[in-house]
């Protein structure tokens, strides 16, 4: 039988322009990578980078076949506990079934959004899937999606990433 999960090597490279409460993050930012609620790993803390930390931390995780998203949570350790700087969700279709072969090292970057939904910096990662997708497993992936005809001939199994609308959102940013 085909394997139920694949090995994902994700290297959290760096972050840019991270802020908490509109002030630049001073230090001790770290990232929690989670594939499922109980399948997560944490990077080291970055002591010096401030609001532009660089971790270069490689994490190896098991990724089940039906995974749709990898969630990245950037947090900051402050004296009052942990504060969340922002989240990003990486659709698995961005690196599987996309332009680059998945066993190839791919560099991806995502916009972070804080718990209120506002933009809060960028996170840069690189990913690589260890095992190439075999013919039998692609059926499994397609079966997992099973959402009908992709729009516009796109091959991403109909997955979209939604952006929450909150009050106080600058109106012109909705169109950018």
């Amino acid at each position: 039988m085909e394997s139920k999960s694949r090995t994902l090597e994700i290297t959290i490279l760096s972050g840019e322009d991270l802020r908490i409460d509109n002030k630049s993050v001073k230090k001790n930012a770290f990232v929690v990578v989670s594939i499922e609620p109980f399948n997560c790993k944490t990077t080291k803390m970055d002591g010096e980078g401030g609001s532009n930390p660089s971790w270069n931390d490689k994490l190896v995780m098991d990724m089940p076949m039906q995974t749709r998203f990898i969630t990245l949570a950037v947090k900051c350790k402050a004296s009052s506990g942990e504060k969340t700087v922002g989240f990003a969700r990486i659709p698995v279709t961005d690196f599987i079934g996309g332009y680059s072969p998945e066993t190839c090292l791919q560099f991806l970057s995502y916009r972070l959004r804080d718990p209120k939904g506002l933009k809060n910096g960028i996170i840069n990662v690189s990913v690589r899937v260890k095992e190439p997708l075999h013919a039998c497993s692609s059926q499994a992936a397609a079966a997992a999606a099973g959402l009908g005809i992709p729009i516009d001939g796109r091959n991403d199994f109909g997955v979209v990433t939604g952006i929450p609308i909150w009050s106080g959102y600058p109106s012109n940013s909705l169109f950018r």
Binding site: S14, E16, D17, G49, N52, S54, A88, R89, P91, D94, G98, Y99, S100, P101, C104, L105, Q106, F107, L108, S109, Y110, R111, R113, I122, N124, V160, T161, I163, F175, R176
Partner: protein
Amino acid sequence: MGNCCSDVGGGMAAVGGTAASAATGNQNDAVDMFFKSRGIHGLFSQIELSFSASNLQNRDVFSKSDPMVVVYIKERDGAITEVFRTEVVLNSLNPTWITKYTITYHFEVVQTLLFHVFDVDTQFHNVDVKMLKLEEQQSLGEACCALSEIVIKPNRSLTFDLVRREESVTATRSQHQGKLTVHAEECISSKTTAEMVLRCSDLESKDLFSKSVCTADLKHSYFCYIFLGILVILWCICGLILQDPFLVISKLVESGISIPVCKTEVLKNDLNPTWKPVFLNIQQVGSKDSPLVIECFNFNSNGKHDLIGKVQKSLADLEKLHSGREGENLFLPTPVGHDFQNKILKGKLFVDKFSETVQHTFLDYLAAGFELNFMVAIDFTASNGNPRLPDSLHYIDPSGRLNAYQKAIYEVGEVLQFYDADKRFPAWGFGARPIDGPVSHCFNLNGSSNYCEVEGIRGIMMAYASALFNVSLAGPTLFGHVINKAALIASQSLANDAQKYFVLLIITDGVVTDLQETKDALVKASDLPLSILIVGVGGADFKEMEILDADKGERLESSTGRVASRDIVQFVPFRDVQSGEISIVQALLAELPTQFLTYMRSRDIKPST
């Protein structure tokens, strides 16, 4: 917060020799700056051409020919300018010349060189070669090529058959003229970078609290101990004992002046500081043996930094310090009477890390077999005007004058086609309605429905001209489709492990209709070995398009929240360069070597020779 004084933080930052991590703004700019701060020159390289010849004709009666090479540059308009002469080699039909010609190799310009071998008949003993009159010499033949042709060869050598232009009709001479070999070598010094981690130990404050006072007090009673303690606390508060050290590395030039090359960041309150790695390109300092002065200063926010001590070492010496794991004592020139004496300090400088790396340049990759592949997409929207009318941007002038589209294809293609191995270029049009069809935003320029390639620049020009009269211009202006098509080609090549890098040239007259669609396509393609050059022709306002070129703004963000991993777009409005001295080519292709190198280096792809 809220200090109204000058930027102390800025004054404490490292300058010149450090790797700039993503401090502010665009990460792609920081990545480029990171490599540039390591001394990489992306736009051009210094090349040394050396010459040798074989089987030259013997033109002298009693001895052999005395050959000399003269190098000319052929300009675009045909004008020929002499640029270099080798020395004269005595009596040789198989000479190797010693003097080398250093030329700046501009990636984006076609540099046509003409080599002419002369037999020097006049007296040349003790005469500067420049003084020799060429019309008095005899020609042994000439050869012509573009500089890029030599550079892309694996062994960087090109051998020509010398050709002699005969004015007279007497063709009874033998045709055997001999061969000339030209060899190109990149100047090594621009490639090597030394990375060092420097550390100091036991830095002392200025000796305000002299030893004699100290020992004298200790002999006194407890009262003095308390007094001492209060003094120490007071001085700590005043910050006099604390040091904020930083290093300045300078090179000594011949006249004895020292020129600062770089400075490290300032470390606060550290008497045993270890600074972040320093990157020095060997070319910045001259050579590995050039004397360098490393000074350790105590940072003062008023700008008057106190010198703590200094060391004079070359890079080679620093390397020895590293391998020997020794420290070098700092010294401080202190005034003794009318003179300065070097007082040896307790503080020492250590080199915790020393490594040299050779940064492969664009040329290294080409010589190792990497190919550039050129693709072109042409805007056929109605805003260009009816092609049969002279005021249209697509007007084919019967007198042969090229229109804006043709000029752009020709100029950019002329340079890139040298690097394209098979000279077959995918060519598309967008924004038009082919005969009996709906509007297409990516149709094959050659009219075929199966394949999109044309042969050579001529093929593109011919396909363009015929497409003009076989489609009706429509709209709107959408780039997404051609970008996706180009990305697909690049991705297929990646899957086949080919060492190819793709360049898509989009020539358009107008502002993009759906900017977000274009951004989405660009973000998805940003991790591929692909660069996109957009040329804007005509008089439209291209402000919106400049957003696509990340130099001028922020990183591109798609509608799904993904951000472009690198800047792959270069945008240039054609009219800006049409009148000026900068050719369209220089403007567009200036970024290309950097984009190429960024892609290769981030993946640690090295040219394997």
